[in-house]
Every structure is written in C-alpha cells, then in structure tokens.
Symmetry: D2
C-alpha cells in the first residue's frame, strides 16, 4: 500500500500539466468554441498540438498510436488534462471517443480495429455511441431498449431513436446498441453517412465541452452488414459493462481536473480580494469553503486511484466504479459550487472560466448513471452480501 507515483507517472504528470498551461489554456477564449462544443477545425488544431507534444490518445496501446497507459497512469494523466475544458478534446481522450476506443480495443475484431479504431486514435475522426433513447426507451434502465435490429439477408436493418448521443453531429461512425428479434442486445458498427442515419438536431445543454454536442438520432432502416457486428452477436450488455466502469472512471478523472482548476482560481481570488478589512480567504466563511474544497478534491482523487487499481487488477469494478462515480461527481460539484460562491458576483459570469465549469459539470452527476441509480446498485449489492472484488 503506497501512494507514490512512479517516475514515469510523475514525468507524464508534469508534461501534461505544462502542455495544458502553455498550449491549451491560452486557447480557451477562442470564438470557435460554440454552444455545441469546439468546432471541427478548432478541434483539429488542438489535436495537432497534442500530436506535436507526443501526448495524443494516451489510453490506447502503442500499437494504435497511444501511450498504452494503465488505469492508474490514466488517473494521473487525465486529471491534468481536465484542468482545461479543452484538454480532453486536445489530447483525444474526451468522451465518448475515449470510451469507444477502449471498447474497440477490448472487443473488436482485428479488421474492425484497423478500420475504425486506428483513425479514431489518430484523432482524424470522431465517433459516437448510440445507446440512450427517448422515453419510453432505455435510459438508466437499459432493459427498456427499444431500438431493433432485424436480420435481412447479410444485413441487419436497424430502426429506432436515440438521444443524448454525444458527438453525433460530425461523427464519422457510430456504435449502435439494438435488440435482436430474440430480445438479445447487440452492438453494431456503422458509418454515419449511410442512408437512414439521421441526426435530427443537437440538444441545447448546460454543458458545452463536447464536440458535436448531444444529438437526437433517428435510425430509419439503417442497414449494417452482419460482419459489422461489434464482437459477438448478443453480447451487447456484456460489452456495455466492459465499457462502463472505465468510462465512468475517466469521467471522474477529467472532472477532477476541472474542479481543481476552479479551486485554484477561487483560491487566488480569495488571497487577492479584500472585504471587511482583510483578504476574503481570511474570513472563515470563505476559508472553510477552501478547506472543504481541498478535502473534497483529495477524497475524490483517492477514490479514483483506488478504483483504477481495482481495474488494473483485471476486475470489472462495477461496485467500486459506482462508488467513485457518486463520490467524485458529488465532491467535484460541491467544489465548483463553492468556487462560484467564493467568487461572488463574478462567479456567475464569464469573467473567469469557473461559471463554464459550473454549467458543464452539472451533467456529470447525471451522465453515465445518476447518483440515485448508482446508490441503488450499491445498496443492492450490500443487501445481497455480494463480496467485494478486492
């Protein structure tokens, strides 16, 4: 049991930290940041910066152009990346691409990896994950899946409606979850420029950091050749689990970086700004908020590191990643909410980046499972007495 970073982890931490400070933060006011994320050309420029710095797509194996980090190294790397809302995009480790790459590398057939993973890992294209459906379809409860895939010759014909499909607008390809006639869930790989794959609109959301925003997608007789099934037929829910815990956890890592950023800005303000005869931070009302921030950030990091270690041991970590999702999303939220409060009026303006972090982060308590669903899962395991993996 120890909390030492390896030399490699330390070096990487410093390198990313410098990269974010010097290359990415200066781009934050770029007007090509839109309500639905950075524009495609802006994204391409950012990716180029990361490629030059040899920091691109760190979580993918070296074979596919990444740095081959394990989960613990990712914990260190992604936190630094998240220090700017643009960092994960620049480093090609943003959702949903990051999780999609992880899934493809874990379960895709070699030819699929060449066709879809390689360009994605190179940052040349973006992807999306068509899972969540409008009412009465699949949301927190995946068993409510409505989208169907019906065999027709060598193809499957997919019909359904998806939403909250992050990055749909502009994605080159999609992983589509659908259920077969026998009810089993299956994942399909499909380019998005095929007939019937229609991005109806992008949803207006509080968060604005995801390239392509969140799409509403209509799947209208989309034909997918049977050979484009991702992995094996009928394994959709199993693969969803493979993607789940790591994807949850990388969310935690990135948002922790964002929370730290907000805290640093609030701290700097609390040192400099005076009120009622002394620096703001010397008022306990403010100082206690800073102390609570530091404790929340510390706790969140420890929870992440622990779950990363569980994953590195080869476990699914569903229980631990649920705990981390709740702990980290709620801790980071408290941090950024306090930062807004410390900044006073400025906290709710774009005078600093904190208001944007605040608006973006609210979704973190919901995406990838709202706290309530995770608490419910955790409780069920406790009541059933299911032993912990580690």
């Amino acid at each position: 049991m120890n909390f030492d970073l390896s030399e490699e982890q330390s070096a990487l931490q410093q390198k990313v930290r410098r990269f974010i400070a010097e290359e990415i933060i200066p781009c934050e006011r770029d007007p090509r940041q839109t309500a639905h994320g950075p524009s495609e050309d802006f994204r391409a420029e950012l990716i180029e910066k990361a490629r030059s710095a040899e920091l691109l797509t760190a979580h993918v194996s070296r074979e596919f152009g990444g740095l081959g980090l394990d989960h613990r190294a990712k914990a260190v790397f992604f936190e630094e990346a998240g220090y700017s809302l643009l960092g994960p995009v620049a480093l090609n480790i943003a959702a949903p691409d990051e999780g999609n790459m992880h899934l493809l590398e874990a379960v895709a057939r070699p030819e699929h990896k060449e066709r879809w993973l390689r360009p994605l890992a190179a940052g040349k294209v973006r992807s999306c994950f068509c899972m969540t459906e409008p009412t009465p379809g699949a949301g927190s409860d995946p068993s409510m899946l409505q989208t169907t895939a019906v065999r027709d010759g060598d193809d499957y014909v997919i019909n359904g409606r998806k939403w909250f499909t992050t990055g749909a607008d502009g994605a080159a390809f999609a992983i589509i979850m659908a259920k077969l006639e026998d009810g089993r869930a299956t994942m399909f790989l499909s380019d998005t420029d095929v007939p019937g794959f229609i991005v109806e609109r992008s949803m207006d959301t509080l968060d604005t950091c995801f390239p392509g925003g969140h799409g509403v997608v209509r799947l209208d007789n989309v034909r997918v050749p049977a050979e484009n099934i991702l992995g094996e037929l009928g394994e959709g829910f199993k693969y969803a689990q493979v993607r789940l815990s790591p994807a949850r956890l990388t969310h935690c890592m990135r948002w922790l970086g964002a929370a730290r950023r907000a805290h640093d800005i609030a701290t700097e303000y609390a040192r400099r700004r005076h009120a009622f005869g002394k620096p703001l931070g010397s008022h306990e009302g403010v100082g206690f908020m800073l102390a609570d921030n530091e404790m929340d950030i510390h706790s969140a990091r420890l929870a992440i590191w622990h779950t990363a270690w569980v994953l590195d041991k080869g476990h699914l970590a569903l229980h631990d990643s649920s705990m981390s999702k709740v702990l980290v999303s709620e801790a980071c939220w408290r941090v950024v909410d306090r930062c807004v409060q410390i900044l006073g009026g400025q906290g709710v303006t774009r005078e600093t980046i904190v208001a944007r972090i605040f608006a973006d982060m609210r979704a973190f308590r919901i995406y990838d499972g709202p706290s309530e669903v995770h608490r419910w899962s955790i409780a069920k395991r406790i009541i059933k007495g299911i032993p912990r993996e580690v």
Copy 2:
C-alpha cells in the same frame, strides 16, 4: 396568528396564476429572449399584456398607477409572477426597477416622482441602480465605495466605475451611489443619455432573465445637477437600507415561484416516466426528493410571509430579511437542483425550462448579498444580543 389569505389576496393570486399560465408561459420560447434578457420590443409586448390584464406594477401605489399592495399581498402576487421567468418582466415587478420604484416612492421628492417614477411605473422605461463596483470597490462591503461626487457650481461631477449594474444597457435613467468629498454616501438621479455615462459592455452571466443584462458602467465626469440628488445629501447608506430588505424579499418571492415551477415539471415527469418497472416517483430515491422539494417550498414561503409581515409593521427587517434571503435562496436552489436530477439527462437540456431556471437561479445565492455575508450579519446580531424587532 393565522395563515389565511384575505379574499382580495386570494382573488389576486388566482388572477395572476391564470395570467401567467395563459398569457406568459406561451411566450417563453420567443426567440427575442437573448443572453442578456428579453429584447426591448419583446419586453414592451409583455408589458402590454399585463396592462390589459390590469396587473401592472402591483407594488406601486394607485397614485402612480400600481395596485398599492402591501408586503404580504406582494408575497402572494410575486410568487405567482415568478412562476415564469418572464412573469416579473411582464408585470413590471422585476429587479432592479421594482426596487428602484420602491425607493423612489419612499424617499424621492414629488417632482422627482413625477419625472422618474411615473414613466417607470407605467413600464415605459427601464432604470438601473449603480452601486456595485469592480475590485477594489464596493461589493458586499459597501464601505469600500470608490465612486466620487465632487461639487462643482450647481452640479456634482461623478467619476467611477460600476458593474453588475442590472439593466444598464437600455435603461433610461440611473440611481448612482457615490461618496462626497467628506466621505458621506449620496444617491443621485441621472438620465443615462448624458455625457460620460458609458455602458462599456454587458457581462455574460449564467442568468439571462434581466432585460439589459448586467452592465459594466464607466462614469466619466458625469454631471448631475444638485437638485437631482435623490432625497437628502449624505443619506445614501440610509436609503440603501430602505431599499434593501424589501428588494431582498421580492427576490425571494419571485424565485420561489420559479422553484415551484421546476418542482411541478419534475413532479409531472416523475409521475409519467417509468424505470425499473414503476413510475420514477414511486422510487423512494426520487420520491424523497419530491418530498424535500415540497418541504423546502413550504418553509421558504413561510419565511417570506413572516418577513413581509414584519415589514408591514413598519420595521426595517434587516435581520429577518437576511434570514429569509439565506433560507429562501438556499431552499429554492436545493429544489431546482433536485428537479434537474429527477429529470435526468433532460434536466440539463432545454427540453424543459428547468435548466434555464437552474442557471438563472444560481445567482440568487449571491446577488443582494451572498449567504455568507448574511450569516455574518445574523451572527453579529446574535452575539451582540440585539433584540428582534418583533
């Protein structure tokens, strides 16, 4: 001691409720709602609706065209108005005009009332209140006031910088707080189309409900005739207090309506949407949030009513209005945050109005004194043993 509404209050409550439901909510998706509030022509249309309904400017005396409501009747009326974010604008009871009218009616000389209050009460013009200053000026600590007013012949020459000047862009006139050479604070009335009154920009804020947004104002040798001093020379802080408690409390009233709106939307969703085999609201995790909402709304309303009663007795109600500001802003915030959570992914989108209420309401915990400043004031009175007014 009783909680009965008078017949008049009841009738007004029903009337405003119907007006908001039938006339205002249908306008909420009007594209003339901008990032800095409804546009001027949109505002004018809304005002016309209220005028037709004979509901305009209810807090001002009948002499100046209002309904002459006391604080308790306002509590009932304004809550209904706040049910739509457009309601207070339509009914001409939004900040800062509402507080400015209250102040003008309380302390302005008759000729000033004719000149500035009458058109404002008629909804023909808007106004602003130039008080808060950028660092190192006056924020929560009014003693840090930097803006100066220097006597020059029959005029005062005002220099300084203000920000968070709500409604500055488009306001017809301003109430300007400045300090005299002897350090005493004074309020001045000035049209905004005079030389040296410069709205440098509007700040980008999370909230978007205030017409004209929040301006950064430069006062560059603004000349104000001495006769345009509001009330008496040197009484600036005293008048600020006259404005303070009622202005705080009307904020509470309006936001309570917004919280109730969010709660109604979340409740309706929790009844209709199913997950894991039953309506969302039948899951205790969601049901408890609805219960907490109802308790928070109930408590907030009682606190408002109580402070309104203290004000109606003729007290300044600084202590009680501080308590209500903290209680109501934090309760309403919890409500809207829970509503976002109940709505799940949709909670962070513009699919419903809840995300906008959420973004707008965050500022409520800061504007008119952050919770921390109020807690500090409350604590000081407790420690000093200052007796309650009632």
Copy 3:
C-alpha cells in the same frame, strides 16, 4: 395572514417562560432524575408546582381541569414548556399522557372520561399507549399488528407483546391497540394492575426524560370488559389518526423549546469564551453555526404554527404534520448538534444540559415515525396529486 400572538397567548407565553425559569430549571440537577425519567415522587412535586401556578394540563378542556388551549396556543405554550426537559412533565403535557388525554377527550364515552381522563388531567396518575410491537410486529407499518383481542363472554382477552411503551412502568392504565378476529384494529382501556399485564423491563435508551422510561410489556390473557372498548369497536386505526397529527405536533413544540435552550447556552458561551484572540462567536466558523441555529429555530416555529393553524381549522393535517415532523425534528437536531460543537469538549459533558438534550433529542427523529416514513408518505401524496387540505 399574520403572525401576531393574541394578548392571551402572549400573557401565557410570558407566564410559562417565567415558571420554567424560576420553578423548573432549578430542579434540573435533582438526583431523582433517573435513567428512566424522573422518579414518581419527583414528578409529583413538579406537578404540584404547575398546579400552584395554574398552568397544569393546558391542552385539556376547562371541564376536565385544563386551560382549553387550541393548537396555536399550544404551540406557544408547549415551546416554552420544552425549554426545560422537566417542563412538559411538570406541566402534565408530556408524551404519552398528553396524546392520550387528547384522544380520550376526542373519542371516549362520558363515563370513560370521568374514570380515566379526569385523574390523568389532574396529574394524579400516568398512562401508557400500547401500540408498537417487537419484530415482526407493528412498528412504522401499523398493518403488521400482531396483538390479538378475542371475545370471550362479556370480555375481550388480549394477548401480545408491546415495546417502546413509554411510561409503562408506573402507569395506572393503558390504551391497548389489538386486532379482532376479523382483523379490525380496536383500542381497549385497561388498568395496568390487572392479571396478565406485565412490564417485563424498561429499555435503556439515549433519552431519559420520560417518566417510567420505555417499557417492554407482555399481555398475557389480559381480560378487558367489552364496555372498556375505547370509543367504537374496529375504529382503532381511525382513532390512531385522530391522535397522530396532534401528538406529532406537540412533540415538535416541546423539542423546539429544548433546541432553543441549547442555542441560548451555546450563544452565551460563544460570547464569553475567547480563543485565538477574540470571542468564540466572532469566529465565523462559530458565528455561522449560531446564525444557522437561529434560522433553523425560526423555520421550525413557522412550520409548527402553520400546522397548528391547519388543525385548528378542523383538518386531520396528516400531510402538514408529516412535513412539520420532518422539518422540525431535523432542524432541532441540527441545532443541538451545532450547540454541542460550539461548546467544544464541554458539549459532550454534563457541565451543561446540552449533552442531555442532545442524547434525548436523537429519538425525536424516530419516535412517531422516522423521517423516512414521513418522506415516503409525503411523496405518495405528491405523486397521487392529492390536494392539500388548505
């Protein structure tokens, strides 16, 4: 809508306040206070004090020797009584006698009132309410009632086991809830010195303010003449509801007084005690706790007054009393927990009465329905859209 006390309420408030301060608080260190409440002779002395002061049994009608207060007057009176943990006992308005008297007055036949209510209202005897049962019997879920009453000639023969029977040890008579052979619940009146009514033991509890403590009672073929049915056969659950809301609410009133007491002690300490160069209360960390106390006490009082008003209008107030139970029990708990914290080391000692209030009050969040059960009921009404009574 107003918050004025009537002259009579005001006079009573002052009178009880003085009585508690001068007559009861000086008795608090009396060694006859045991782990299971004040001893019987101690209780008798306290009752005598209240009788002399003409303040005894205020909630009962004048016909039976009380003051005939309505619910709002009780709110004022009982809060003052609760300022000392001995106050409710002295004034003969403590649970369970207070609720039993309320129930008897509401539903008992005239001869039962003479036999059981009159001496109880005079403070000559104590009573108990045999309702809650050990697992798997009736707790929060009354439908799990196990105790049976079987008709045998002119009698009913009752068998079962009860616990948390407050005041059982030393009670002169009991109201016993049992189910008939047809499953309907019925309440029976029985003296406790009859064969088969066995108080097995008193439970060791954190609270120590209830005379007779909380008993475990075995009902072993207890014979009750049919004429001693309380009210009507089969109306047990209906009567339980008659008793419920008022009993919940008087708990709230009394504990609010206790919370105020703790707050006063903590405030006094925060004024007097110095640390790090200034009075404790001038540290925001402490001052904010005092401010939160004041807001919690204020909110709790308003909730109580409101529910009392609903009851005075003749409603059952199940929804409102549930809300008040949760709001008040949790607010008072926060208050007393903060007081312990403000007092530092002394807070967890018997150097002040605060530690005892703390230990006693913990049960308030559980007795008469834990917060969770009330939240559940509130949520159900919201989801079903049941309209509020007022």
Copy 4:
C-alpha cells in the same frame, strides 16, 4: 501507487479481526463497564487476553514489547481493534496511553523509557496527558496555556488546573504541559501519587469507553525533579506536534472500526426486518443510507491510509492529518447516525451496541481539535500557499 496489503498486514488484519470477534465482543455486556470506562480489573483481564494472543501494544517497538508497526500497518490493525469499543483498551492501543507511548518512544531519554514507557507498554499501568485547561486556559488554542512551572532548586513546582484529562483517575503517571517563567512550554513526567496531584472529579461525558474517564485535575504545588523533564526544556509545543498527527490518526483508525461495526449491525437488520411488504434494505430510503455508509467508510479508510503513508515517509503530516481528522470524524459520524436511523426505535436503545457507539463517537468530532479548528488550519495553509509535504 497501489492499495495491496502486504502479507504481514493481511495476516495481522485477520488475526485481530478474529481476536475481536471471539475474545472481546463477548465481553461487551460485562457489568464492569461503567460510565467512566471499564473498571481496572476488567481492563486487566482484557489486556491479558491480548497478551495471550500476542497482539499487545502493537504500535510500540519490539524492544519495548510491541509489534513495531509502521503507520500503515497500524491503520489496518487499529481499524480492526476499533470494531469493538473494548478493542483498543484490550490491545493497549487506546488514547491517551497510545499517544503517550508514541511520544515517549520518540523523545524521552533512555532512563525515562525504562521507567515509564516499559510498564505502560506492558499494560501494567495507565497514564494521562495533562494538557487541556478550563476557561480561560488552553483548549483548541494552545497559546492560552495557564499552568506554570517555576524552578525551585532541583525541582520545578507546577501549579494549574487541567480538565478533559483522559484516564486521570487511576493513571500511574502523567505528562504535564506547563509554561516556564519565560513563557516557553515544557512537558514534565510525574507520578500521580505525589503531593498536590489531585483528581478532583471525573466528568460525566457522552462517551464511556475511556478507562478512568476524563478527569478534572488540580496541580497544587506539584514538585517535579528537573531530571523528569520530558526530552528538552522549552520544547513542549514541538513535542505536542510530534504527538499530534499520529494521535489524531489513530483516533481515526479506531473510530473507523466502530463505524464499520455499526454499519454491519444496521445492514444485518435491514436484511432481516420487513416493513411495508419487503425487507427494510430494499426500500431505497434505507438502501441509500447503506450505500452512503459504504462510501463514507471507504473514503475514510483511504484518507487514513494516505496520511499514514505521509507519516511513514517521515513527515509531520499536520496538514494531511487535519484533513483526515475532519474527513474521518465527519464520515464516521454520518455512518453511525444513519445506523441509528435504520435501526429505528431500537437505534436509540441498548438493544444493540449502536447507541453506545453513537454516544461515544460524538466526542470524536471535538477531541484532538474540533472540525472548525482543523478547517481553519487547512484554510490558512491554502491561503498562504504552503506547499504540501508530498
């Protein structure tokens, strides 16, 4: 970075767990447990059990009869010990002896170690730490120290008053903090059976797990030979810091065990007890509490492990141990409070051990520095920008 226990740590964990389950928990209802802790003969019996199991005084070096555990191994060991409130006493790792041994081993001269440490480590005697003073003396603010030590020939003559002197009644010797004539603080070693060392009384506290309770000690011309200065003259505050972080942290470890115990009992109850048609734990209102417990326990453990690692690196860990003290004491408190709530009525009785854990644990948020003092220290370091040790 990893969270693996070493084989030795694992073995020790299992061994202590078994010891507590088999040897100590069966003693918990022993009537020799008094309001001021286990009696001396009861304590001696418990110590004998640990000695037989070769688990005594694990934190002291093998030279003095312990197991020589580092801080991380202690984290594992002490948590298991804390699973019973009697565990730390039995294993001779309870406060204040545990911290005193740590201090003696770190700074005492060899002859002092032989005289005072050796018998203490063997569990033959108890000790106390005379530091905290009644108002206006030293509490959270050590600079307010009032007790004086005046040189007189070869002796120092000590006068003053101490309280919250844990274990004073029955202690064989004391470490006494006093200030010299020049104001420097010094620690003195003194037997307690010397003239002028008077235990006036033991304080009645909510906690009852400390042998000897918490004494009020009068030091009335206590003569201490100069050779009995602990370590060096004038180094009192420095030594206090040596004792501080580890002592704080071992508190955290032990109470974490107690929180886990309460959680296990509540979990078992939530599985077994039915209400409203299903097991209690299947109600989300209860299940969510269990989930929160598990997350709190998890977070608390990680914080402890991390600070133990910082200490094992040789740092003072004042910042990290402050964070852990706040995080762990508040997390454990939430856990035990929820457990009381889950158990319902039984939660506030002695039917289970949970009510005692609840009452005992309240002091944990105060002893060794209330949360507020730690938050203040943490905030000061943040505002000053003091770099973290690791």
